[in-house]
């Protein structure tokens, strides 16, 4: 039949997670359609139409979708579900929020955070914080899937899909957006960055994170953190890397003052090159690091910055 990808965007630009989810969808069922739901988001539909291999973009442009609330979004997906044998979303906060509602209403299981498509009905997904990989078969029913985007390459542009405007679906009306407090940053987004430098409890304070941020700016890197650093208020919650935070797989991941708990490793161990800076030579983070530096970070980071100048 076809697959439908729920687009991730902010009403003005399409998030790269969408192009990665399209890659997974194309391995499951063709053609691929993309659903862009939002408010004043026609520009996003145009961006989605340029993804190679996308046959059609469905555009639902209505105030009720402005903040991507799960209840109206799920109803919209459900209104179109019968035309597709696979419905996918990136495993972003939105995808995770919306898609299980769709699965439950269709009375089918959801397959969360797939890492690979083995065949049209067989998928690999992590369990136990990535300490085990499950191979599951989903046969005989509609496939509802969230995609671990760090595991898929982005579909390139080069397409020219038709854009079809669709009417909004009913809003159950029991939920209402109140406000949002998004952290602003000039730095690249954590899950899209080529280089990520993360700090942990070892940084000791919010002010000390400046040591990390200065290097991030020199390298064009995103700034990440361990749970301990977020809990302590050194950085906002959206910087948490790990099993229950963001999953990243950049070219280079630099972990500073992070011990390497399994929950943290779950979010970064698929990075291409891993660097660890820690004063405890027994820290588990060294077990996954390509380059390990046993040192006091308060000496190592300024020296690192200076060496970049040379």
């Amino acid at each position: 039949m076809a697959s439908l990808v729920l687009a991730e965007h902010n009403n003005s630009s399409l998030d790269e997670a969408t192009a990665k989810t399209v890659t997974a969808a194309a391995q499951i069922s063709l053609p691929v359609h993309v659903l862009v739901a939002g408010a004043n988001c026609a520009g996003v539909a145009q961006q989605a139409a340029k993804l190679a291999g996308v046959e059609k973009v469905l555009l639902a442009d209505d105030a009720r979708y402005a903040n991507f609330l799960a209840e109206p979004m799920a109803e919209l997906v459900l209104a179109h579900a019968s035309s597709y044998d696979a419905i996918l979303a990136p495993a972003t906060a939105n995808g995770k929020n919306i898609l299980p509602r769709v699965a439950a209403k269709l009375d089918v299981p959801q397959i969360s955070e797939i890492l690979a498509v083995e065949s049209a009905d067989v998928f690999r997904r992590p369990i136990y914080a990535g300490n085990a990989i499950q191979k599951v078969e989903a046969k005989g029913f509609k496939k509802i899937i969230t995609v671990r985007v760090a595991a898929f390459a982005a579909t390139p542009s080069g397409g020219n899909a038709a854009i079809e405007t669709i009417p909004p679906a009913d809003d159950p009306g029991r939920s209402r957006f109140v406000t949002e407090n998004l952290s602003r940053s000039e730095r690249p987004e954590l899950t899209a960055a080529k280089i990520v430098i993360s700090g942990g409890r070892g940084l000791q304070s919010k002010d000390n994170f400046a040591l990390i941020e200065r290097i991030a700016d020199r390298l064009g890197a995103a700034v990440g953190a361990s749970r301990a650093a977020v809990d302590a208020g050194f950085v906002p919650n959206d910087r948490q890397v790990g099993q229950t935070g963001k999953i990243v797989a950049p070219e280079l991941y630099i972990a500073v003052g992070i011990s390497g708990a399994i929950q943290h490793l779950a979010g970064m161990k698929d990075s291409k090159v891993i660097v660890a800076i820690n004063k405890d030579e027994g820290a588990p983070i060294f077990g996954v690091a390509d380059y390990g530096l046993v040192a006091d970070l308060f000496e190592a980071l300024p020296e690192f910055e200076k060496a970049l100048d040379r």
Partner: protein, 248 residues
């Protein structure tokens, strides 16, 4: 207002899991089991709501083997008033859990259901959302803060870009994130008291739910192991190596 708190018994978060040699699953013999950490946060939040006079009764519910009694006792020791154990041995998918919880909710009529956002064994992150959909209730997932208002609940959610606050008409489903609270340790007197609190025993059949798994697990493998690389002596040497490697 009654608050229902579903809690799952899972492998303790500190245990290093081992995949079974026959690749059918993970070895659970003699490993430490605990309440799912997010569910502990959910119990704590329910207890705080009761302490603030916003909740009247807290009911903990677990679906699982006899050992899930222990998990329920943990919830009771933290302050839940009573518990329901829905006995089930074997695999359970989130959709089946959600269906059973829906039946429990219809029986108990809570004003709020507080769940964990994710079980740290299956890492599914589904049950709360599915349950909300089946009940046609609104949902506030990944909660960092909740506030009960007149007939509604304000939920501040941890989203990819920061925080989002939504207002939900009650009854509603809320799933917890790490920053919602820091769960208390149960005191010894409370642990003793919990032994006398009632746990009702039920079976899946009592709720008329078909709990058979729909997905077929073909294999469970260990992930590819990463090998530790080299040590460098200084930050200057490190920068040199990274330049050689072409990553900076």
């Amino acid at each position: 207002m009654k608050v229902l708190v579903p809690v799952k018994r899972v492998i303790d978060f500190n245990v290093a899991v081992r995949v079974k040699a026959d690749r059918t699953g993970v070895d659970l013999t003699n490993v430490k089991m605990s309440i799912n950490p997010f569910d502990e946060i959910a119990v704590e939040e329910a207890v705080r709501l009761k302490e603030k006079g916003k909740a009247s009764e807290i009911i903990a519910v677990s679906i699982g083997p006899a050992g899930a009694q222990e998990t329920l006792r943990t919830a009771l020791a933290m302050g839940a008033d009573r518990a329901i154990l829905v006995k089930h041995d074997g695999e359970l998918e989130p959709l089946a859990v959600a269906k059973i919880l829906k039946a429990v909710a219809i029986e108990e009529q809570p004003g709020l259901i507080l769940l964990g956002k994710q079980a740290i064994d299956d890492d599914c992150n589904q049950v709360g959302q599915m349950l909300a959909a089946l009940l046609a209730w609104p949902q506030g997932t990944f909660a960092a803060k909740v506030e009960i208002e007149e007939g509604s609940i304000a939920v501040t959610r941890e989203v990819d870009g920061g925080l989002q606050t939504v207002s939900l008409r009650l009854p509603a489903v809320v799933t917890t994130d790490l920053r919602l609270n820091e769960p208390r340790y149960a005191s010894l007197p409370n642990i003793m008291k919990a032994r006398k609190k009632p746990i009702a025993e039920k079976t899946v059949a009592d709720y008329g739910v078909d709990a058979a798994p729909r997905l077929k697990v073909l294999e469970v493998r260990e992930p590819e192991k990463r090998r530790a690389g080299a040590r460098v002596a200084s930050a200057t040497e490190l920068v040199g190596k990274l330049r050689e490697r072409g990553v900076i």
